[in-house]
Symmetry: C2
Subunit: 236 residues, 2 copies
DNA sequence: TGTACATCAGTGAACGCGCGTTCACTGATGTAC
DNA sequence: TGTACATCAGTGAACGCGCGTTCACTGATGTAC
Protein backbone atom coordinates (compact mmCIF):
# COMPACT_ATOMS: atom_id res chain seq x y z
CA UNK A 1 0.00 0.00 0.00
CA UNK A 2 1.39 3.41 -0.95
CA UNK A 3 0.20 6.75 0.33
CA UNK A 4 -1.09 9.23 -2.28
CA UNK A 5 1.80 11.53 -1.36
CA UNK A 6 4.39 8.85 -2.07
CA UNK A 7 2.58 8.04 -5.31
CA UNK A 8 2.69 11.65 -6.44
CA UNK A 9 6.33 11.92 -5.57
CA UNK A 10 7.16 8.87 -7.60
CA UNK A 11 5.18 9.89 -10.65
CA UNK A 12 6.08 13.61 -10.58
CA UNK A 13 9.58 14.21 -9.25
CA UNK A 14 10.06 17.69 -7.84
CA UNK A 15 13.64 18.66 -8.47
CA UNK A 16 15.45 19.17 -11.77
CA UNK A 17 17.87 16.48 -10.74
CA UNK A 18 15.08 13.99 -10.21
CA UNK A 19 13.59 14.86 -13.58
CA UNK A 20 16.92 14.39 -15.31
CA UNK A 21 17.49 11.14 -13.48
CA UNK A 22 14.15 9.76 -14.57
CA UNK A 23 14.76 10.72 -18.13
CA UNK A 24 18.27 9.35 -18.37
CA UNK A 25 17.27 6.16 -16.62
CA UNK A 26 14.66 5.48 -19.23
CA UNK A 27 17.03 6.52 -22.02
CA UNK A 28 19.49 3.93 -20.76
CA UNK A 29 16.76 1.30 -20.65
CA UNK A 30 15.63 2.20 -24.15
CA UNK A 31 19.13 1.95 -25.53
CA UNK A 32 19.69 -1.34 -23.74
CA UNK A 33 16.52 -2.74 -25.26
CA UNK A 34 17.76 -1.81 -28.71
CA UNK A 35 20.94 -3.68 -28.01
CA UNK A 36 18.95 -6.63 -26.74
CA UNK A 37 17.25 -6.78 -30.12
CA UNK A 38 20.47 -6.49 -32.06
CA UNK A 39 23.01 -8.58 -30.24
CA UNK A 40 21.16 -10.39 -27.48
CA UNK A 41 21.41 -10.29 -23.71
CA UNK A 42 24.69 -12.17 -23.48
CA UNK A 43 26.51 -9.49 -25.46
CA UNK A 44 24.66 -6.50 -24.12
CA UNK A 45 27.29 -3.99 -23.10
CA UNK A 46 27.33 -1.05 -20.72
CA UNK A 47 29.90 0.71 -22.85
CA UNK A 48 27.76 0.47 -25.98
CA UNK A 49 24.83 1.97 -24.12
CA UNK A 50 27.01 4.84 -22.93
CA UNK A 51 28.35 5.32 -26.44
CA UNK A 52 24.88 5.58 -27.90
CA UNK A 53 23.85 8.13 -25.31
CA UNK A 54 27.07 10.09 -25.79
CA UNK A 55 28.23 9.80 -22.22
CA UNK A 56 31.19 8.30 -20.45
CA UNK A 57 30.76 4.61 -19.77
CA UNK A 58 31.41 5.24 -16.10
CA UNK A 59 28.40 7.55 -15.94
CA UNK A 60 26.02 4.65 -16.53
CA UNK A 61 27.14 3.30 -13.17
CA UNK A 62 25.38 6.22 -11.47
CA UNK A 63 22.15 4.63 -12.70
CA UNK A 64 22.78 0.91 -12.64
CA UNK A 65 25.46 -0.44 -10.34
CA UNK A 66 26.40 -3.24 -12.73
CA UNK A 67 25.61 -4.86 -16.03
CA UNK A 68 23.70 -7.60 -14.25
CA UNK A 69 21.43 -5.09 -12.54
CA UNK A 70 20.72 -3.57 -15.92
CA UNK A 71 19.73 -6.99 -17.21
CA UNK A 72 17.51 -7.47 -14.18
CA UNK A 73 15.80 -4.14 -14.79
CA UNK A 74 15.15 -5.18 -18.39
CA UNK A 75 13.70 -8.51 -17.31
CA UNK A 76 11.34 -6.80 -14.87
CA UNK A 77 10.19 -4.24 -17.41
CA UNK A 78 9.66 -6.74 -20.18
CA UNK A 79 7.84 -9.26 -18.00
CA UNK A 80 5.53 -6.49 -16.85
CA UNK A 81 4.95 -5.34 -20.38
CA UNK A 82 3.99 -8.82 -21.49
CA UNK A 83 1.84 -9.31 -18.41
CA UNK A 84 -0.07 -6.13 -19.24
CA UNK A 85 -0.69 -7.26 -22.79
CA UNK A 86 -1.83 -10.71 -21.77
CA UNK A 87 -3.99 -9.50 -18.89
CA UNK A 88 -5.69 -6.96 -21.14
CA UNK A 89 -6.39 -9.65 -23.74
CA UNK A 90 -7.81 -11.96 -21.11
CA UNK A 91 -10.15 -9.38 -19.66
CA UNK A 92 -11.23 -8.08 -23.05
CA UNK A 93 -13.20 -11.21 -23.85
CA UNK A 94 -16.80 -10.10 -23.73
CA UNK A 95 -18.42 -13.01 -22.04
CA UNK A 96 -15.96 -13.62 -19.24
CA UNK A 97 -17.37 -17.09 -18.77
CA UNK A 98 -16.25 -17.99 -22.29
CA UNK A 99 -13.25 -19.82 -20.94
CA UNK A 100 -12.03 -21.22 -24.25
CA UNK A 101 -12.33 -17.73 -25.69
CA UNK A 102 -10.21 -16.35 -22.90
CA UNK A 103 -7.58 -19.02 -23.45
CA UNK A 104 -7.43 -18.21 -27.13
CA UNK A 105 -7.20 -14.49 -26.38
CA UNK A 106 -4.29 -15.13 -24.03
CA UNK A 107 -2.53 -17.34 -26.58
CA UNK A 108 -3.02 -14.83 -29.37
CA UNK A 109 -1.78 -12.00 -27.20
CA UNK A 110 1.38 -13.95 -26.39
CA UNK A 111 1.82 -14.73 -30.07
CA UNK A 112 1.31 -11.19 -31.29
CA UNK A 113 3.62 -9.76 -28.68
CA UNK A 114 6.30 -12.38 -29.34
CA UNK A 115 6.14 -11.77 -33.08
CA UNK A 116 6.57 -8.06 -32.58
CA UNK A 117 9.39 -8.48 -30.11
CA UNK A 118 11.06 -11.81 -30.79
CA UNK A 119 14.20 -10.77 -28.96
CA UNK A 120 12.25 -9.89 -25.87
CA UNK A 121 10.53 -13.24 -26.07
CA UNK A 122 13.89 -14.98 -26.37
CA UNK A 123 15.15 -13.05 -23.38
CA UNK A 124 12.24 -14.11 -21.18
CA UNK A 125 11.64 -17.66 -22.36
CA UNK A 126 14.69 -18.62 -24.38
CA UNK A 127 18.07 -19.85 -23.22
CA UNK A 128 19.25 -18.48 -19.88
CA UNK A 129 22.03 -15.92 -20.13
CA UNK A 130 25.29 -17.70 -19.22
CA UNK A 131 26.82 -16.31 -16.06
CA UNK A 132 23.68 -14.44 -15.08
CA UNK A 133 21.07 -15.84 -12.77
CA UNK A 134 17.85 -13.91 -12.44
CA UNK A 135 17.42 -12.64 -8.87
CA UNK A 136 14.31 -12.79 -6.70
CA UNK A 137 13.19 -9.41 -8.00
CA UNK A 138 12.18 -10.96 -11.31
CA UNK A 139 9.95 -13.63 -9.78
CA UNK A 140 7.03 -11.31 -9.17
CA UNK A 141 6.83 -9.82 -12.67
CA UNK A 142 7.33 -13.24 -14.23
CA UNK A 143 4.52 -14.60 -12.06
CA UNK A 144 2.23 -11.85 -13.28
CA UNK A 145 2.26 -13.45 -16.73
CA UNK A 146 1.51 -16.96 -15.59
CA UNK A 147 -0.91 -15.44 -13.08
CA UNK A 148 -3.24 -14.60 -15.93
CA UNK A 149 -3.47 -18.24 -16.92
CA UNK A 150 -3.84 -19.27 -13.30
CA UNK A 151 -6.65 -16.73 -12.95
CA UNK A 152 -8.38 -18.39 -15.85
CA UNK A 153 -8.00 -21.81 -14.24
CA UNK A 154 -9.42 -20.35 -11.07
CA UNK A 155 -12.53 -19.11 -12.78
CA UNK A 156 -12.95 -22.42 -14.57
CA UNK A 157 -12.67 -24.38 -11.36
CA UNK A 158 -14.94 -21.99 -9.53
CA UNK A 159 -17.61 -22.31 -12.18
CA UNK A 160 -17.34 -26.07 -11.99
CA UNK A 161 -16.45 -26.00 -15.67
CA UNK A 162 -13.40 -28.24 -15.50
CA UNK A 163 -13.46 -30.88 -18.27
CA UNK A 164 -14.96 -34.24 -17.34
CA UNK A 165 -14.15 -36.95 -16.83
CA UNK A 166 -10.97 -35.73 -15.15
CA UNK A 167 -7.96 -37.83 -16.11
CA UNK A 168 -6.56 -39.80 -13.21
CA UNK A 169 -3.38 -38.49 -11.66
CA UNK A 170 -0.97 -40.91 -10.00
CA UNK A 171 -0.01 -40.21 -6.42
CA UNK A 172 3.57 -39.24 -7.31
CA UNK A 173 2.33 -36.64 -9.77
CA UNK A 174 -0.10 -35.35 -7.16
CA UNK A 175 2.78 -34.94 -4.72
CA UNK A 176 4.98 -33.13 -7.20
CA UNK A 177 2.22 -30.52 -7.53
CA UNK A 178 2.29 -29.60 -3.82
CA UNK A 179 4.20 -26.35 -4.26
CA UNK A 180 2.10 -25.43 -7.25
CA UNK A 181 -1.08 -25.85 -5.22
CA UNK A 182 0.31 -23.58 -2.51
CA UNK A 183 1.35 -21.07 -5.12
CA UNK A 184 -2.02 -20.68 -6.82
CA UNK A 185 -3.67 -20.04 -3.48
CA UNK A 186 -7.05 -21.57 -4.22
CA UNK A 187 -8.43 -25.03 -4.50
CA UNK A 188 -7.74 -26.69 -7.82
CA UNK A 189 -7.98 -30.26 -9.05
CA UNK A 190 -4.81 -32.06 -10.07
CA UNK A 191 -6.25 -32.69 -13.47
CA UNK A 192 -7.01 -29.06 -14.14
CA UNK A 193 -3.62 -27.99 -12.80
CA UNK A 194 -1.90 -30.42 -15.13
CA UNK A 195 -4.04 -29.32 -18.04
CA UNK A 196 -3.01 -25.75 -17.36
CA UNK A 197 0.69 -26.54 -17.05
CA UNK A 198 0.64 -28.70 -20.16
CA UNK A 199 -1.19 -26.05 -22.16
CA UNK A 200 1.14 -23.31 -20.99
CA UNK A 201 4.15 -25.41 -21.94
CA UNK A 202 2.54 -26.19 -25.27
CA UNK A 203 2.05 -22.51 -25.90
CA UNK A 204 5.69 -21.70 -25.19
CA UNK A 205 6.70 -24.67 -27.32
CA UNK A 206 4.63 -23.45 -30.25
CA UNK A 207 6.16 -19.98 -29.93
CA UNK A 208 9.65 -21.43 -29.63
CA UNK A 209 9.19 -23.53 -32.76
CA UNK A 210 7.98 -20.56 -34.76
CA UNK A 211 10.22 -17.80 -33.45
CA UNK A 212 13.43 -19.75 -33.26
CA UNK A 213 13.12 -20.88 -36.85
CA UNK A 214 12.07 -24.49 -36.52
CA UNK A 215 9.01 -24.05 -38.71
CA UNK A 216 10.99 -22.44 -41.49
CA UNK A 217 10.22 -24.32 -44.71
CA UNK A 218 7.87 -26.55 -42.76
CA UNK A 219 4.76 -24.47 -42.20
CA UNK A 220 3.51 -21.98 -44.77
CA UNK A 221 1.37 -19.61 -42.75
CA UNK A 222 2.58 -19.11 -39.20
CA UNK A 223 -0.44 -17.15 -38.02
CA UNK A 224 -2.99 -19.64 -39.26
CA UNK A 225 -0.95 -22.50 -37.92
CA UNK A 226 -0.46 -20.95 -34.51
CA UNK A 227 -4.14 -20.34 -34.21
CA UNK A 228 -5.17 -23.90 -34.75
CA UNK A 229 -2.44 -25.23 -32.51
CA UNK A 230 -3.49 -22.81 -29.77
CA UNK A 231 -7.07 -24.03 -30.08
CA UNK A 232 -5.96 -27.61 -29.77
CA UNK A 233 -3.91 -26.79 -26.71
CA UNK A 234 -6.90 -25.29 -24.92
CA UNK A 235 -6.91 -26.78 -21.41
CA UNK A 236 -10.64 -26.42 -20.89
CA UNK B 1 26.45 -44.57 -51.68
CA UNK B 2 30.12 -44.98 -50.65
CA UNK B 3 32.49 -47.62 -51.86
CA UNK B 4 34.05 -49.88 -49.21
CA UNK B 5 37.43 -48.41 -50.13
CA UNK B 6 36.29 -44.87 -49.49
CA UNK B 7 34.67 -46.02 -46.27
CA UNK B 8 37.90 -47.59 -45.08
CA UNK B 9 39.85 -44.51 -45.99
CA UNK B 10 37.52 -42.30 -44.00
CA UNK B 11 37.45 -44.49 -40.94
CA UNK B 12 41.15 -45.43 -41.02
CA UNK B 13 43.27 -42.63 -42.42
CA UNK B 14 46.54 -43.84 -43.89
CA UNK B 15 49.09 -41.14 -43.26
CA UNK B 16 50.42 -39.79 -39.98
CA UNK B 17 49.19 -36.37 -41.01
CA UNK B 18 45.67 -37.64 -41.52
CA UNK B 19 45.75 -39.37 -38.16
CA UNK B 20 46.91 -36.21 -36.42
CA UNK B 21 44.31 -34.16 -38.25
CA UNK B 22 41.52 -36.44 -37.15
CA UNK B 23 42.67 -36.34 -33.60
CA UNK B 24 43.14 -32.60 -33.37
CA UNK B 25 39.84 -31.97 -35.10
CA UNK B 26 38.02 -33.94 -32.48
CA UNK B 27 40.06 -32.35 -29.70
CA UNK B 28 38.96 -28.95 -30.95
CA UNK B 29 35.36 -30.09 -31.06
CA UNK B 30 35.61 -31.51 -27.56
CA UNK B 31 37.07 -28.32 -26.19
CA UNK B 32 34.45 -26.24 -27.97
CA UNK B 33 31.70 -28.37 -26.43
CA UNK B 34 33.14 -27.73 -22.99
CA UNK B 35 33.00 -24.03 -23.70
CA UNK B 36 29.45 -24.35 -24.95
CA UNK B 37 28.52 -25.77 -21.57
CA UNK B 38 30.33 -23.09 -19.63
CA UNK B 39 29.72 -19.85 -21.46
CA UNK B 40 27.22 -20.63 -24.21
CA UNK B 41 27.41 -20.45 -27.98
CA UNK B 42 27.36 -16.66 -28.21
CA UNK B 43 30.57 -16.35 -26.23
CA UNK B 44 32.31 -19.42 -27.58
CA UNK B 45 35.77 -18.33 -28.61
CA UNK B 46 38.36 -19.68 -30.98
CA UNK B 47 41.14 -18.28 -28.86
CA UNK B 48 39.91 -20.03 -25.73
CA UNK B 49 39.82 -23.34 -27.60
CA UNK B 50 43.38 -22.79 -28.78
CA UNK B 51 44.47 -21.85 -25.28
CA UNK B 52 43.02 -25.02 -23.83
CA UNK B 53 44.76 -27.14 -26.42
CA UNK B 54 48.03 -25.28 -25.93
CA UNK B 55 48.31 -24.10 -29.51
CA UNK B 56 48.43 -20.77 -31.28
CA UNK B 57 44.96 -19.38 -31.96
CA UNK B 58 45.83 -19.12 -35.62
CA UNK B 59 46.41 -22.87 -35.78
CA UNK B 60 42.74 -23.57 -35.19
CA UNK B 61 42.07 -21.94 -38.55
CA UNK B 62 43.78 -24.88 -40.24
CA UNK B 63 40.85 -26.95 -39.01
CA UNK B 64 37.89 -24.61 -39.06
CA UNK B 65 37.96 -21.62 -41.37
CA UNK B 66 35.97 -19.44 -38.98
CA UNK B 67 34.17 -19.36 -35.67
CA UNK B 68 30.86 -19.75 -37.44
CA UNK B 69 31.95 -22.94 -39.15
CA UNK B 70 32.96 -24.29 -35.78
CA UNK B 71 29.48 -23.51 -34.47
CA UNK B 72 27.99 -25.23 -37.49
CA UNK B 73 30.09 -28.34 -36.88
CA UNK B 74 28.89 -28.40 -33.29
CA UNK B 75 25.26 -28.07 -34.36
CA UNK B 76 25.62 -30.96 -36.79
CA UNK B 77 27.32 -33.20 -34.26
CA UNK B 78 24.87 -32.46 -31.46
CA UNK B 79 21.78 -32.85 -33.63
CA UNK B 80 23.10 -36.19 -34.79
CA UNK B 81 23.86 -37.27 -31.27
CA UNK B 82 20.34 -36.44 -30.15
CA UNK B 83 18.87 -38.09 -33.23
CA UNK B 84 20.74 -41.29 -32.40
CA UNK B 85 19.47 -41.28 -28.83
CA UNK B 86 15.89 -40.62 -29.86
CA UNK B 87 15.90 -43.11 -32.72
CA UNK B 88 17.31 -45.79 -30.46
CA UNK B 89 14.63 -45.13 -27.87
CA UNK B 90 11.90 -45.28 -30.49
CA UNK B 91 13.05 -48.56 -31.94
CA UNK B 92 13.69 -50.13 -28.55
CA UNK B 93 10.00 -50.36 -27.73
CA UNK B 94 9.23 -54.02 -27.83
CA UNK B 95 5.91 -54.08 -29.52
CA UNK B 96 6.54 -51.64 -32.35
CA UNK B 97 2.83 -51.22 -32.80
CA UNK B 98 2.57 -49.79 -29.28
CA UNK B 99 2.39 -46.28 -30.62
CA UNK B 100 1.77 -44.53 -27.32
CA UNK B 101 4.69 -46.47 -25.88
CA UNK B 102 6.92 -45.28 -28.68
CA UNK B 103 5.83 -41.67 -28.13
CA UNK B 104 6.63 -41.94 -24.46
CA UNK B 105 10.00 -43.52 -25.21
CA UNK B 106 10.83 -40.65 -27.57
CA UNK B 107 9.75 -38.06 -25.02
CA UNK B 108 11.73 -39.68 -22.23
CA UNK B 109 14.79 -39.95 -24.42
CA UNK B 110 14.59 -36.25 -25.23
CA UNK B 111 14.14 -35.48 -21.56
CA UNK B 112 17.01 -37.62 -20.33
CA UNK B 113 19.35 -36.28 -22.95
CA UNK B 114 18.35 -32.69 -22.29
CA UNK B 115 18.82 -33.11 -18.55
CA UNK B 116 22.28 -34.52 -19.07
CA UNK B 117 23.25 -31.84 -21.55
CA UNK B 118 21.13 -28.77 -20.87
CA UNK B 119 23.54 -26.52 -22.71
CA UNK B 120 23.39 -28.67 -25.78
CA UNK B 121 19.61 -28.56 -25.58
CA UNK B 122 19.69 -24.78 -25.29
CA UNK B 123 22.00 -24.61 -28.29
CA UNK B 124 19.66 -26.66 -30.47
CA UNK B 125 16.26 -25.48 -29.29
CA UNK B 126 16.90 -22.34 -27.27
CA UNK B 127 17.43 -18.79 -28.44
CA UNK B 128 19.19 -18.41 -31.77
CA UNK B 129 22.77 -17.20 -31.54
CA UNK B 130 22.77 -13.48 -32.47
CA UNK B 131 24.73 -12.81 -35.63
CA UNK B 132 24.86 -16.47 -36.60
CA UNK B 133 22.37 -18.09 -38.90
CA UNK B 134 22.51 -21.84 -39.21
CA UNK B 135 23.41 -22.84 -42.79
CA UNK B 136 21.76 -25.49 -44.95
CA UNK B 137 24.19 -28.09 -43.65
CA UNK B 138 22.35 -28.23 -40.34
CA UNK B 139 18.94 -28.91 -41.85
CA UNK B 140 19.59 -32.58 -42.46
CA UNK B 141 20.80 -33.46 -38.96
CA UNK B 142 18.03 -31.40 -37.40
CA UNK B 143 15.48 -33.19 -39.55
CA UNK B 144 16.80 -36.54 -38.34
CA UNK B 145 15.43 -35.75 -34.88
CA UNK B 146 11.98 -34.70 -36.02
CA UNK B 147 12.15 -37.55 -38.52
CA UNK B 148 11.78 -40.02 -35.68
CA UNK B 149 8.47 -38.46 -34.68
CA UNK B 150 7.39 -38.31 -38.29
CA UNK B 151 8.27 -41.98 -38.65
CA UNK B 152 5.98 -42.71 -35.73
CA UNK B 153 3.16 -40.73 -37.34
CA UNK B 154 3.77 -42.69 -40.52
CA UNK B 155 3.34 -46.02 -38.79
CA UNK B 156 0.25 -44.77 -37.00
CA UNK B 157 -1.35 -43.59 -40.21
CA UNK B 158 -0.34 -46.77 -42.03
CA UNK B 159 -1.89 -48.92 -39.36
CA UNK B 160 -5.09 -46.89 -39.55
CA UNK B 161 -4.58 -46.13 -35.85
CA UNK B 162 -5.07 -42.39 -36.01
CA UNK B 163 -7.40 -41.17 -33.24
CA UNK B 164 -11.06 -40.87 -34.15
CA UNK B 165 -13.04 -38.86 -34.67
CA UNK B 166 -10.48 -36.64 -36.36
CA UNK B 167 -10.87 -33.00 -35.41
CA UNK B 168 -11.91 -30.84 -38.30
CA UNK B 169 -9.25 -28.67 -39.86
CA UNK B 170 -10.24 -25.39 -41.54
CA UNK B 171 -9.20 -24.90 -45.13
CA UNK B 172 -6.62 -22.22 -44.25
CA UNK B 173 -4.92 -24.55 -41.80
CA UNK B 174 -4.96 -27.31 -44.40
CA UNK B 175 -3.24 -25.01 -46.85
CA UNK B 176 -0.58 -23.92 -44.40
CA UNK B 177 0.40 -27.59 -44.06
CA UNK B 178 1.21 -27.98 -47.76
CA UNK B 179 4.98 -27.86 -47.33
CA UNK B 180 4.79 -30.14 -44.33
CA UNK B 181 2.90 -32.73 -46.36
CA UNK B 182 5.55 -32.62 -49.07
CA UNK B 183 8.26 -32.89 -46.48
CA UNK B 184 7.01 -36.03 -44.79
CA UNK B 185 6.74 -37.78 -48.13
CA UNK B 186 3.78 -40.02 -47.36
CA UNK B 187 0.07 -39.59 -47.06
CA UNK B 188 -1.01 -38.18 -43.73
CA UNK B 189 -4.26 -36.67 -42.50
CA UNK B 190 -4.33 -33.02 -41.50
CA UNK B 191 -5.55 -33.98 -38.07
CA UNK B 192 -2.71 -36.39 -37.42
CA UNK B 193 -0.17 -33.92 -38.77
CA UNK B 194 -1.47 -31.23 -36.43
CA UNK B 195 -1.51 -33.63 -33.52
CA UNK B 196 2.10 -34.46 -34.23
CA UNK B 197 3.18 -30.84 -34.54
CA UNK B 198 1.29 -29.83 -31.41
CA UNK B 199 2.73 -32.70 -29.42
CA UNK B 200 6.26 -31.97 -30.62
CA UNK B 201 5.87 -28.34 -29.66
CA UNK B 202 4.42 -29.36 -26.32
CA UNK B 203 7.43 -31.56 -25.71
CA UNK B 204 9.87 -28.75 -26.42
CA UNK B 205 7.77 -26.44 -24.29
CA UNK B 206 7.85 -28.82 -21.35
CA UNK B 207 11.61 -29.16 -21.68
CA UNK B 208 12.01 -25.41 -21.99
CA UNK B 209 9.98 -24.80 -18.86
CA UNK B 210 12.00 -27.27 -16.87
CA UNK B 211 15.50 -26.64 -18.20
CA UNK B 212 15.31 -22.87 -18.39
CA UNK B 213 14.19 -22.62 -14.80
CA UNK B 214 10.51 -21.79 -15.11
CA UNK B 215 9.43 -24.70 -12.91
CA UNK B 216 11.80 -23.72 -10.13
CA UNK B 217 9.80 -23.48 -6.92
CA UNK B 218 6.71 -24.46 -8.86
CA UNK B 219 7.04 -28.20 -9.42
CA UNK B 220 8.66 -30.48 -6.86
CA UNK B 221 9.68 -33.52 -8.86
CA UNK B 222 10.68 -32.68 -12.42
CA UNK B 223 10.96 -36.29 -13.58
CA UNK B 224 7.56 -37.32 -12.32
CA UNK B 225 6.02 -34.14 -13.67
CA UNK B 226 7.60 -34.48 -17.07
CA UNK B 227 6.38 -38.02 -17.37
CA UNK B 228 2.76 -37.19 -16.81
CA UNK B 229 2.89 -34.16 -19.07
CA UNK B 230 4.49 -36.25 -21.80
CA UNK B 231 1.71 -38.84 -21.48
CA UNK B 232 -0.89 -36.12 -21.79
CA UNK B 233 0.80 -34.74 -24.86
CA UNK B 234 0.67 -38.08 -26.64
CA UNK B 235 -0.65 -37.38 -30.14
CA UNK B 236 -2.12 -40.84 -30.67
C1' DT C 1 65.95 -46.87 -51.82
C1' DG C 2 67.12 -41.82 -52.42
C1' DT C 3 66.29 -37.42 -53.85
C1' DA C 4 63.61 -33.16 -55.15
C1' DC C 5 59.65 -30.86 -54.73
C1' DA C 6 55.06 -29.90 -53.06
C1' DT C 7 51.98 -29.86 -49.43
C1' DC C 8 50.57 -28.96 -45.04
C1' DA C 9 50.58 -27.78 -39.76
C1' DG C 10 51.73 -24.73 -36.59
C1' DT C 11 53.97 -20.20 -34.96
C1' DG C 12 54.06 -15.56 -33.31
C1' DA C 13 53.34 -10.97 -34.22
C1' DA C 14 50.17 -7.79 -35.63
C1' DC C 15 45.68 -5.21 -36.79
C1' DG C 16 41.89 -3.13 -34.96
C1' DC C 17 38.74 -3.85 -32.11
C1' DG C 18 35.90 -4.87 -27.78
C1' DC C 19 34.67 -5.29 -22.53
C1' DG C 20 33.28 -4.24 -16.94
C1' DT C 21 34.59 -1.66 -13.34
C1' DT C 22 37.15 1.71 -10.28
C1' DC C 23 38.73 6.13 -8.87
C1' DA C 24 40.03 10.87 -8.07
C1' DC C 25 38.24 14.72 -9.66
C1' DT C 26 35.15 18.95 -11.37
C1' DG C 27 31.21 21.45 -11.44
C1' DA C 28 26.39 21.73 -11.01
C1' DT C 29 22.23 21.20 -8.11
C1' DG C 30 19.77 21.05 -3.68
C1' DT C 31 18.99 22.27 1.17
C1' DA C 32 19.28 24.08 5.87
C1' DC C 33 19.85 28.07 8.27
C1' DT D 1 16.66 36.23 0.01
C1' DG D 2 21.63 34.88 0.61
C1' DT D 3 25.14 32.05 2.02
C1' DA D 4 27.58 27.65 3.36
C1' DC D 5 27.71 23.05 2.94
C1' DA D 6 26.34 18.56 1.29
C1' DT D 7 24.93 15.80 -2.33
C1' DC D 8 25.04 14.11 -6.70
C1' DA D 9 26.08 13.55 -11.98
C1' DG D 10 29.32 13.11 -15.14
C1' DT D 11 34.39 12.88 -16.79
C1' DG D 12 38.48 10.71 -18.42
C1' DA D 13 42.14 7.88 -17.49
C1' DA D 14 43.43 3.58 -16.07
C1' DC D 15 43.53 -1.61 -14.88
C1' DG D 16 43.53 -5.92 -16.72
C1' DC D 17 41.37 -8.34 -19.57
C1' DG D 18 39.13 -10.32 -23.89
C1' DC D 19 38.18 -11.21 -29.16
C1' DG D 20 38.43 -12.92 -34.75
C1' DT D 21 41.30 -13.01 -38.35
C1' DT D 22 45.49 -12.37 -41.41
C1' DC D 23 50.13 -13.11 -42.85
C1' DA D 24 54.90 -14.26 -43.65
C1' DC D 25 57.42 -17.68 -42.09
C1' DT D 26 59.67 -22.41 -40.41
C1' DG D 27 59.98 -27.06 -40.34
C1' DA D 28 57.91 -31.44 -40.79
C1' DT D 29 55.43 -34.83 -43.67
C1' DG D 30 54.09 -36.87 -48.09
C1' DT D 31 54.79 -38.14 -52.95
C1' DA D 32 56.48 -38.74 -57.68
C1' DC D 33 60.24 -40.13 -60.06
Amino acid sequence: MTTPAAEAQRSAPRTARAVARRELTSAIIASAREQLAEIGPAQLSVRAVARELGMASSAVYRYFPSRDELLTALLVIIYNELADVVARADSSVRRRSDFAGRWLAIARAMHGWAQQRPYDYAFLYGSPVPGYSAPEATIGPSARVTGVVIGLLHDVFDAGAAPRPALTVPRAAHKSLATFRELVGFEISDDLALRGLTAWGGLLGALTLELFGHLYRVIDDYDVHFDIVARRLCPI
